[in-house]
């Protein structure tokens, strides 16, 4: 009988301690509306950058806010990167009018090599030249292709490492970006 009461007292004490820690551990009231940090991570704001494009223009990521962005890090020597280009192009053509931008970010290759590749593959989405891989470093790109899915508010919603991505997978990720 006494041991029963001791057991109840032990468990009761633990429950009280547990509830106190739960109360102390509540998320701050303003946590949902707190400004997001910038980091190449799902749920964070995508780091901004400005790069030269293969067509001579420049592109700044923050200028694309309001549109959904697929950021695809690639290189001509990367076989899966080459393999997924047609799927990226088809998706771009199908959804660009809905507010989708695909930005291919070539890693550390001279402009002439990229232009020769684009003449063969024929993609119409913009290609940026990350000649010193500084943007790749900011985005922690360790393998190619690496693809970031960024929503209209500039928040990273998904990251896919590796490829080739197929059209169905791309379409399945785009809906959330476009708020569908």
């Amino acid at each position: 009988m006494r041991s029963n009461w001791r057991r109840i007292a032990l468990i009761g004490g633990f429950v009280i301690l547990g509830l106190i820690w739960i109360q102390l551990g509540r998320a701050p009231a303003d946590s949902a509306s707190a400004p997001l940090s910038v980091s190449p991570r799902i749920g964070f704001l995508a780091p901004d950058f400005t790069l030269d494009r293969s067509d001579g223009e420049t592109v700044t990521l923050s200028d694309l806010q309001g549109q959904a962005v697929i950021l695809n890090f690639w290189a001509t020597w990367c076989a899966p990167c080459r393999a997924e280009m047609p799927a990226l192009e088809r998706v771009y053509q199908a959804r660009r009018d809905n507010g989708l931008v695909i930005l291919g970010v070539n890693q550390m290759e001279p402009k002439e090599r990229v232009e020769r590749f684009l003449a063969e593959v024929e993609v119409t989405f913009p290609i940026a030249l990350d000649l010193d891989a500084e943007v790749g470093r900011i985005y922690r790109v360790h393998a190619m292709p690496t693809t970031y899915f960024i929503d209209r508010q500039g928040v990273i919603r998904d990251v896919v490492i590796g490829g080739p991505l197929n059209e169905a997978l791309l379409q399945s990720k785009i809906g959330a970006l476009l708020g569908e």
Partner: protein, 266 residues
């Protein structure tokens, strides 16, 4: 942080690799413990791999069905080896169901086998937490603690390491259990340990499943699980000495009969 692991020319994403390693290590340990207790350790391997296969297929199907509009015009993509198209929650649920059905149909589902699997499960959960530390997932809140780590543009609590250490402590407790422990005790020890870990460390996580009022859902569930397990374990422990008190306490000690031989109790 190590988001990818280089194996020859291939750079593979860390998280799924660690999950596979955790699965294999957990299954290996569970089989060893089961075999040591004379249980069907091979069945655990079979159930595990059937569950893995079933989970991958089920998780892929669930993802496809959830995004049918994208897949109906590209049915071949359903069979793509691209790992990104997987519904993790459904994969885990279906995988566990397949494994349980396999064991049940062979009449092997028992509390004793579940007890034997618990050290392996604790090891797997610890490895998954360490994997999160490597890949930068399930990261902690910013901290000035001297042991804080640099992650995602801030110094943060290594909450993944706290969890891993907690689970390794649970594994140590499970490993030291004596062989005559009551059936089901290992299950409740793991529930207690993991529940305590979630209750204790959840407020240090940067991303939590929040309930109304800012309460952290997994922290509440962890506390409920831990309290339940504590109740069951202490109740079982309280019941054990009663079996030894089989003599009349009114009889003086000198003439109190000797306790029965140990073998009579088994």
């Amino acid at each position: 942080m190590l988001p990818t692991i280089q194996i020859g020319p291939a750079a593979l994403p860390t998280r799924p690799l660690i999950w596979l390693l955790a699965f294999y290590a957990g299954l290996w340990l569970a089989e060893r413990v089961a075999a040591r207790r004379g249980l069907a350790g091979d069945a655990l391997w079979n159930a595990g791999f059937l569950g893995l296969g079933g989970g991958l297929i089920g998780g892929r199907l669930a993802y496809v069905l959830g995004h049918w509009a994208a897949y109906r015009s590209d049915l071949g993509a359903i069979f793509s080896l691209r790992p990104g198209a997987l519904s993790l929650g459904w994969a885990l649920a279906i995988g566990c169901a397949v494994a349980l059905v396999y064991l049940s149909r062979r009449g092997l589902l028992s509390v004793a086998l579940a007890d034997a699997a618990m050290p392996g499960l604790a090891l797997a959960l610890a490895l998954i937490s360490l994997g999160n530390l490597l890949s930068g997932d399930a990261y902690g809140i910013p901290s000035d603690a001297p042991w804080a780590i640099d992650l995602w543009e801030a110094r943060r609590h290594p909450v993944q390491a706290y969890e891993a250490l907690s689970l390794l402590a649970v594994l140590a407790v499970l490993w030291r259990r004596r062989s005559g422990a009551p059936p089901g005790q290992a299950i409740w020890i793991l529930v207690l340990g993991y529940g305590l870990a979630r209750w204790l460390w959840e407020p240090l996580r940067a991303e939590s499943w929040l309930w109304p009022g800012g309460y952290r859902g997994w922290q509440v569930i962890g506390l409920v699980a831990a309290v339940t397990a504590l109740w069951v374990l202490t109740r079982a422990a309280a019941a054990m000495p009663a079996r030894a008190e089989s003599v009349d306490p009114n009889i003086p000690t000198r003439v109190r009969p000797a306790p029965p031989h140990t073998s009579d109790r088994e």
